[in-house]
Subunit: 192 residues, 2 copies
């Protein structure tokens, strides 16, 4: 099967290719843009994008990916608008919003959604979530986005994502979990 | 002419009706929803919504309205995502983001866009902007949204929008300006 991944990010392409390689799935990059709607959930954003792509003639199967950081004390902000928040208020702004909020209330999660449209236009969502906490200050220079302020649960040394190497981060990451869920589904589908 | 206004807000309907009444334009409310995309400008959001409505069979002419608060020190945040920011971080969050920012750097503007699709599917934008500053603390109980933290320029007493009565606010407001611009355009068009 030849599967389009809608992304401008070669790193995401490589990750999905590596995961699906053993299933006989050839993942190819499709970097056409599509509108992202304003909505409360990643699933809604991805599904509306998929609908737009189908209406404008894309050939399924294809996959969209969306992810974001959801901070509990901020009612889920910045959520589906994480990229915009990063470009405007940045890590510093997020820390300001949480100034004085004690550690137990600084819970947050990185979430990812892979929206897979199969050859029959069936819609499938594969979700991943990495729970954690917002640090008191930005730390580390790896990763990207809000990685310097996010401390994942299950990381005994309390490192932020930006202080971890890629392999360690991928073991915990929301996107890796979503990719694994999709891989499991396609593996089962191939054996039916 | 019968003109649909896409809104769920009876206040906005009444405002446009009052403005266009003398031009023989009957403004009717159309409360069907439409997707708002993630974009940098109000114009892009409105125009994408209009395209969706046309594609799904709405009969022009119609008008969409979008507005937001753009804070200069925050690279325009919350901008087109003002409603989401209000529902999550609120006025308190906005004040936190600007903590320690001195008064001359607290400039901001409320902006509105009316996107008018005429009977021939021509697209017209009518913009309004109200420059001002973000106050050091929320004040007043009138208005809605970010009104309690916004001090418009040209208000010598330094009141926030939430401390002004509706008539005083409307004289300065972004939405009122956009409505006036649309009225002027339709008035000229009627006399051609």
């Amino acid at each position: 099967m030849r599967l389009r991944l809608l992304t401008g990010n070669p790193g995401k392409l490589a990750e999905l290719q590596a995961a699906l390689d053993g299933l006989g799935v050839e993942v190819v990059q499709d970097d056409r843009g599509y509108p992202e709607i304003q909505a409360d959930t990643l699933e809604e954003v991805a599904e509306a994008g998929a609908g737009h792509l189908l209406a404008t003639g894309i050939e399924p199967p294809f996959v969209l990916e969306d992810s974001g950081l959801f901070v509990d004390a901020l009612e889920g902000f910045p959520g589906v608008y994480s990229r915009y928040a990063l470009d405007t208020i940045g890590n510093e702004g997020l820390l300001r919003l949480l100034a004085g909020v004690p550690e137990p209330e600084r819970t947050a999660s990185f979430r990812a959604d892979l929206c897979y449209i199969d050859a029959d236009r069936g819609v499938h969502h594969f979700a991943g979530a990495c729970p954690g906490r917002i640090a008191e200050a930005a730390r580390g220079s790896g990763g990207f986005g809000f990685d310097p302020v996010f401390v994942p649960d299950g990381e005994p040394s309390g490192r932020t994502f930006a202080e971890m190497d890629l392999a360690a981060k991928n073991r915990l990451s929301h996107r890796g979990q979503a990719v694994e869920a999709m891989k499991a589904y396609l593996g089962k589908a191939a054996n039916r």
